[in-house]
């Protein structure tokens, strides 16, 4: 369990982390989400005692990091910056870590096997790919078989197979009763891994909620209707108290509408419908709406008009033209007024709330498939 109380970190007059208070509990994967520069890494460094907080404190199982008797057995961490001497072989890197905590040497071989790096154990990490470096970082986090695991952007640089592996690994670790705290700037990634969600923006806590709750509260649903007689349908719907809005390619979008009711209304008024489909805004959009005010680095798209971002997009608010600034329009859609709105990307849809676990755990064979591929 990690407890943060009023944790604050200032660098000069810039506040990187601003009064964070939350608790990360064992047995679940807790996602730590925020745009770039939100203070995620700074928070994690303070958890590890690497940076001293300006105010407040953070405790691991009730203790400050410096008071831990066997730190690697209490908490294992993968930090964003690799933290490996490029000239020391993977094996020796893990060995010197193990020795500093009195962990038996055989454990080094075990974790290398676990992450699938045993073939390159004697190689120097200088030549490792991003994904292999990430696996070495995960191996060092697992070295002490810790009760708490903390991963900073673990999927960075991993291929899809690696991403799947780390996802199942984290869920497996949580299921063993460990505390798993993982940061990301990708909502879509979190939606598939985390059960609990902590969102920060500009160092401030924006949300501390379960994933299913977040999905339920933040997914904007609307019904898209397409008809050759948009004006008639518009009148009918408005009369019935619904709030249709012009959507992309002549479609109408009805916020909070019920598809069945709209269909019945159209039938009653003998209006032909070409499309009637309930739409769910992506979690990514919900996340952007939440953090829109607190995004630190805005990019500006050259055209000024852009479709809502796909999963990999990092800078929320970026597509908007400057006058609008970071403020999201009241409707919550990210496209500027009048711009064509693409449908929410299907891949970013939330998993059904009833299945927070995602894919089933792989059990003991983590990384096996990756190893097989390497041997080929």
């Amino acid at each position: 369990m990690i407890e943060l109380r009023d944790l604050t970190k200032r660098y000069g007059d810039k506040t990187a982390v601003d009064g964070l208070s939350f608790t990360v509990r064992p047995g679940t994967v807790t996602g730590f989400l925020g745009p770039n520069g939100a203070g995620k890494s700074t928070t994690m460094r303070m958890v590890l005692g690497l940076d001293a907080p300006t105010r407040g404190d953070v405790r691991i199982e009730g203790k400050h990091y410096g008071e831990l008797k066997e730190p690697l057995n209490s908490i294992g961490a993968l930090l964003e910056a690799k933290g490996v001497h490029g000239g020391r072989s993977a094996y020796n890197h893990l060995l010197c870590m193990a020795q500093s905590n009195g962990i038996p040497e055989r454990r080094v071989g075990e974790v290398l096997e676990m992450v699938g790096l045993h073939d390159v154990a004697r190689k120097r990490p200088k030549g490792f790919s991003l994904g292999m470096g990430q696996r070495l970082g995960i191996a060092s986090a697992l070295l002490g078989d810790p009760r708490i695991l903390m991963f900073d952007e673990p999927v960075n640089g991993l291929d899809p197979e690696g991403i799947h592996w780390i996802r199942t690994l984290m869920q497996h670790l949580a299921r063993e009763g460990r505390t798993v705290f993982v940061s990301s700037h990708l909502m879509s990634e979190m939606a598939q891994t985390a059960e609990h969600l902590i969102v920060i923006g500009q160092g401030k806590l924006l949300a501390d909620t379960s994933m299913s709750q977040f999905i339920a509260e933040n997914s904007r649903t609307h019904v898209r209707v397409r008809t050759p007689e948009p004006q008639r349908l518009l009148d009918v719907l408005t009369t019935e108290g619904l709030r249709p809005a012009a959507g992309a390619q002549g479609a109408l979008e009805v916020d909070g509408g019920d598809a069945a009711r709209i269909g019945e209304l159209a039938a009653a008024h003998r209006i032909v419908l070409h499309e009637l489909s309930p739409q769910r805004a992506s979690l990514e959009e919900a996340f952007m709406r939440l953090t829109a005010q607190s995004v630190e680095y805005h990019g500006h798209a050259p055209g000024g008009v852009q479709a809502p971002p796909e999963g990999a997009q990092v800078a929320p608010g970026a597509p908007q033209p400057p006058p609008e600034g970071p403020q999201a329009p009241p409707g919550g859609t990210q496209a500027p007024p009048g711009a064509p709105q693409a449908p929410p990307p299907g891949g970013q849809q939330a998993p059904p709330p009833g299945d927070p676990q995602g894919p089933p755990p792989e059990g003991p064979g983590w990384g096996e498939d990756w190893q097989r591929r390497r041997r080929r």
């Binding site: 208070s21 064992p26 005692g49 066997e70 490996v84 001497h85 010197c96 500093s100 460990r178 299913s212």
Partner: protein, 333 residues
């Protein structure tokens, strides 16, 4: 505790204990915490979701102490190439130059104490030890390894102490070995000298016994253990400077300045008015300390043994080390 509501989540108010309360249906093991031993890689026992006993590792754990840190630092220093390179080059320079100069000088009257030509190689060799001393600390900052190190051992003072001990012992043993080998070469090749008539009555005449140039016990000590200690201390000072500056190039440059500048500056202080400054700079130049240990001091005081200067270096090193120690505990990494 959390100021935010975990709205809608099943988790009840957090108890003081570190484990989640188990809802009816799942049976927590007796004495949760010690009882449950899920081996690595066993798929989760019990059923999700609900109360899960906190994880407890089957791996035996020890309370960490300085011994662990020392073993770890020893592994670190012997598993990077910079150690092999710097110490190897140091050895080659000291012994190689020692051998060459001994061969070149043999047969003639050198006009120097028997072991003193070992200084030439060591003046270059000490740069390697300085480099290694700096790198022991700064390479960790450069690569980010320092975060891993301080995560594994949050007692920062212990890390610095372990690094310093391991490095100092290694540097001392290696430098002393190289110096001893050079001294043996010198004594083997240079003792056959005849004292020219114009040197009779000079101090050097005392070192001739039975027509051969010999070195006294204290000369041997100074040219082996003394030189080894001196260079290892310089290396330790470099390590402390590295911990202060946290930057390889900056720290190495600083140390080069410390070693070379006093003498270089003194060379350009010709005037009478600067005589005192000039003498001071020469006397306390690190190179003079080393030269004095070889009994060829750069000052007019030809009786200097170098040991007081070695003591002075130790004091300076201790002060800088204390500053590095204090700052390491204060700074973010």
């Amino acid at each position: 505790m959390s100021t935010q509501q975990h709205n809608g989540q099943a988790a009840p108010a957090q108890p003081a204990a570190a484990h989640m309360p188990a809802p009816a249906g799942t049976v927590p093991p007796a004495g949760a915490g010690a009882g449950q031993q899920p081996g690595q890689g066993q798929p989760g026992q019990g059923h999700w979701p609900g109360g899960i006993a906190p994880y407890s590792s089957p791996i035996p754990m020890a309370r960490t102490n300085l011994g662990h840190a020392l073993v770890s630092e020893w592994t670190k220093i012997r598993t990077v190439r910079s150690t092999v390179w710097t110490l190897g080059v140091m050895f080659a320079l000291v012994v190689g130059i020692g051998l060459l100069s001994a061969v070149g000088l043999s047969g003639d009257f050198t006009g120097m104490p028997l072991l003193s030509s070992g200084l030439f190689g060591l003046m270059l060799g000490q740069i390697c030890v300085i480099t290694l001393g700096v790198l022991v600390v700064t390479s960790e900052y450069g690569t980010g390894m320092i975060r891993t190190t301080l995560t594994a051992c949050p007692q920062r003072g212990r890390v610095l102490l372990a690094k310093a001990t391991v490095f100092f012992l290694l540097a001392f043993v290696m430098t002393t070995l190289a110096c001893a080998l050079t001294a043996l070469i010198n004594s083997a090749l240079l003792s056959d000298q005849t004292l020219p008539s114009y040197e009779r009555g000079s101090e050097l005449a005392d070192s001739f016994e039975g027509g051969k140039l010999v070195a006294s016990g204290s000369e041997w000590l100074g040219a082996t253990v003394g030189a080894g200690l001196y260079v290892a201390l310089l290396g330790l000072l470099s390590l402390a400077v590295g911990a202060l500056l946290r930057h390889s190039a900056g720290a190495i440059t600083t140390m080069m300045g410390v070693v070379l500048l006093p003498l270089l500056m003194a060379m350009f202080m010709a005037g009478k008015a600067l005589q005192d400054v000039r003498d001071f700079l020469i006397e306390y130049s690190p190179l003079n300390g080393l030269a004095s240990l070889y009994r060829i001091p750069m000052t007019t005081d030809q009786d200097a043994t170098g040991w007081p200067l070695l003591g002075g270096l130790a004091v300076v090193t201790l002060i800088v080390f204390a500053a590095a120690y204090a700052l390491l505990n204060k700074r973010d990494v």
